[in-house]
């Protein structure tokens, strides 16, 4: 593989993993938020 | 604290003396691993000779995982942990006792393995001062880190699989340092080995300190 291909691969892996992790955290937050009454969510 | 340590170590060693799990199962297992390495790495091609120090310490690491599991399996009976907590033994002393008993058993395994390496792999123990000077701090470090990791996995349903995952990354530097020191001793250049023995001593001090300080935290959980 050429240098450019490796560089792009590295960037894509990083961006995809970060976006997937961010999505996972947000999704977990949403599904848990529904199970907890809002008065216990102090950041609101 | 030292008196408590001797009490706990004496208890563990008495259990071992009566059940002989260490001598009857862990030591034979370690020798078996040595023989299997002999099969895997053809002894006629010189690989085995070059790899002897590493194989010795890998085998010790595997044996230590079994030893730690055994040391805490003894206490896993119903109510034993509560009973231990109710005794007025200091947590630091209990940790030291556990580690001491484990170290004694590991030294016995290492002795058996040493004879095995000399007989099976044809290793020449000429630099024995460095060999002993490496084995003692390395064993102390393995026993300390092992006792601390062991108590972290106590009582969990997945403890058998979790313990190696927690313990082996911590013990990796011990493997590295002890192997390099043994290589130096077997090569007949012990001057290269003593700094590694020093690193092992530092490792042992760090983990004995962490163990004494942290053992109580895990133990006092309800």
């Amino acid at each position: 593989m050429s240098t450019w291909a490796w560089v792009i691969t590295g960037w894509i892996i990083t961006v995809v993993v970060v976006v997937a992790y961010v999505g996972l955290v947000l999704q977990r937050g949403r599904s848990l938020s529904r199970q907890v009454p809002p008065e216990e969510q102090r950041w609101m | 604290m030292l008196r408590d340590a001797m009490l706990v170590a004496g208890k563990d060693l008495r259990v071992e003396a009566r059940t002989r799990v260490g001598l009857g199962q862990v030591a034979p297992f370690a020798v078996l691993v040595l023989v299997l390495f002999g099969f895997a790495l053809d002894p006629d091609r010189g690989i085995l000779e070059a790899a002897t120090p590493g194989l010795f310490w890998i085998t010790v690491l595997f044996a230590s995982v079994l030893g730690v599991q055994r040391a805490y399996a003894v206490e896993s009976g119903a109510g034993v942990r509560d009973a231990l907590r109710l005794t007025s033994l200091s947590p630091g002393g209990m940790f030291l006792g556990k580690a001491l008993a484990l170290a004694v058993q590991l030294l016995a395994v290492e002795l058996v393995l040493g004879v095995g390496v000399i007989v099976l792999y044809g290793a020449d123990p000429a630099g024995w001062i460095l060999l002993v000077g490496t084995a003692l701090p390395a064993t102390a470090g393995i026993a300390a880190a092992g006792s601390l990791s062991g108590v972290l996995a106590v009582g969990l349903r997945v403890r058998e699989t979790l313990l190696p995952l927690l313990l082996l990354p911590v013990l990796a530097p011990v493997l590295l340092a002890a192997t390099r020191a043994f290589e130096a001793a077997l090569d007949g250049s012990p001057a290269d080995g003593w700094p590694w023995a020093g690193l092992l001593a530092l490792f042992a001090v760090v983990y004995v300190g962490c163990g004494i300080g942290l053992y109580g935290t895990v133990l006092e959980e309800s």
Partner: protein
Amino acid sequence: MSIGNGQSAGTPLATQDTRSVTGHPTTGSPATRVLGIIVLLCLPLVLWLSFVATPPDAVQGESVRLLYVHVPSVTVAYVACFVTFVASIMWLWKRSEWWDLVGSSAAEIGSVFTALTLVSGMIWGQITWGTAWEWDPRLTSTLFLFLLLVGYQALRAASPDRSSRSRRSAVIGLLLVPNILIVNRSVQWWRSLHQDATLFRTDLDFRIEGLMLFTWMFTTAVGMVLLVWLLFHRFRVGWLANRVEERQLSEAVAARRAEATP
């Protein structure tokens, strides 16, 4: 049953004023929204700086562009692990749920970014050294850090209750830093016995300045904002999970009580 009904009746009223921004209950708050918008706005700038504005390096060529994503990953990973270490010490001192959640949140984020560090580092090694893995002290100790973080999370997942979870993980969190120091030192010592160790050093310590240095610092800064944003959200997820666990526990206790008294 009555608890569930009470909640579903109360929720819509409460959401109208505070949650109308997203329409769903989330772990977001005005502060995190600001941080998130900063990261999103900076992202095109990061890409432009990394791929268009900066020239290829004199020594490294185009592979230097990989470092604009590798270095922020390393920084975020190590800062997150240090947060876990500090939070573990603070938990051992204060014994509060807050520090436990800070430590575990940072550990999870740290393990994601350590994995990314390893991947981008290996790709960089493939370009520069021709092999994906060299027994370089930094690479090796990062691998062991990752393994220990995996153990940290396995331990938390395996612990039956919150008390044992926070106790046991605080011990591992405390061991993170001594372990990384000992591994790093021993590998460095070991590799310095071989002659080729100097070769890596010249490759790693090339000079970087001007716009390239700015890009490096800018992407790292964006990474740090992302870390803070993630820490807020992950902390709240952990906090909500604890509340759900408590509710389930009290419901189970209530169900048992109801069984016992006919």
